[in-house]
Symmetry: C2
Amino acid sequence: MNYPSKLIEDAVEEISKLPGIGKKTALRLALHLLKREEQQTSQLAEVLVNLRTQTRYCRQCHTIADEDLCQICANPRRDSQLICVVEDTRDVLAVENTAQFRGMYHVLGGLINPLEGVGPADLQVESLLDRVADPKNEIREVILALSPTMQGDTTSFYLTKRLRQYPIKITTIARGIPIGGDLEYADEITLGRSIIGRVTYE
Amino acid sequence: MNYPSKLIEDAVEEISKLPGIGKKTALRLALHLLKREEQQTSQLAEVLVNLRTQTRYCRQCHTIADEDLCQICANPRRDSQLICVVEDTRDVLAVENTAQFRGMYHVLGGLINPLEGVGPADLQVESLLDRVADPKNEIREVILALSPTMQGDTTSFYLTKRLRQYPIKITTIARGIPIGGDLEYADEITLGRSIIGRVTYE
């Protein structure tokens, strides 16, 4: 497509790098911004840069946080002996929205995926083991809430093997959510039920 | 939804102001940017601000342009006696992509829409009449290429009434494109044919 202006072309180029946004949608968004007030664009640009430069990760559970410790880890009313292991921050939000879980989280930052060269060392596995091993934490249960895909199952299997040495209960969320699906798209009821009906790894 | 961080919340808020992007997609985009290099985000922010602050409009046809005069108006090989009237810059791109039109454009910047309070005075109508009236331009034909919707037809009707006083041919693109549809979504072949098969307003 020929664009009438280099500015439009540059904008379309950058916007269409975002996942799920093609050139036509990018052009629509760019022209939308041109019709709106200048302030809206500058605000959008500002929050994106702030997000990227100022975002921190909780030193305990590695979820995205404003402070050194996230709101969940810093909350004394949460059950600190229960850890829910998830792939990323989106999954923390998904589980939080079920209102069925009052424990803590641990964000792995991905799943084991040999094809893409992601091994346990690339994930927050050692810090999870440290949390479980520390007697001060008195962890009594680790819930593995990973997507029921090849990578998720591999990661669950690996974590179970590593965690078995500790005197804790290891559970996984009930497979009420469709096999092959993505955790974040499960509806809140199904995901909530699957936490209540979690099963113990034998 | 409860966000773990104010930065994420702000970003989701701003991104979801864009048309066709909800909170869930906005969150996906924000987390995508967090995973990519910082430079990608700063570049995206920069082109958006540049787009909004530096974009200019061609002084003759009012399409988006880098210079005072757009590339089409500045091109001496285009047929300057033929003006294609369109709603906005997206439609210029759509017609250009058919490669069936070698004349000039005139961007109205909208359509007459009494329900939303848009009247002829809000559009580039007078500047179109000035272009047609100027004997130096030797305009011989005006093609009305507006979407075949209520607003488009109203605008075409209004423009025809105003243009009839000049010794020019007034045509409209053939209604090969579906009635009620949006011009920018027409495929290139259909849109190209509709320019070739344009019919004279009697």
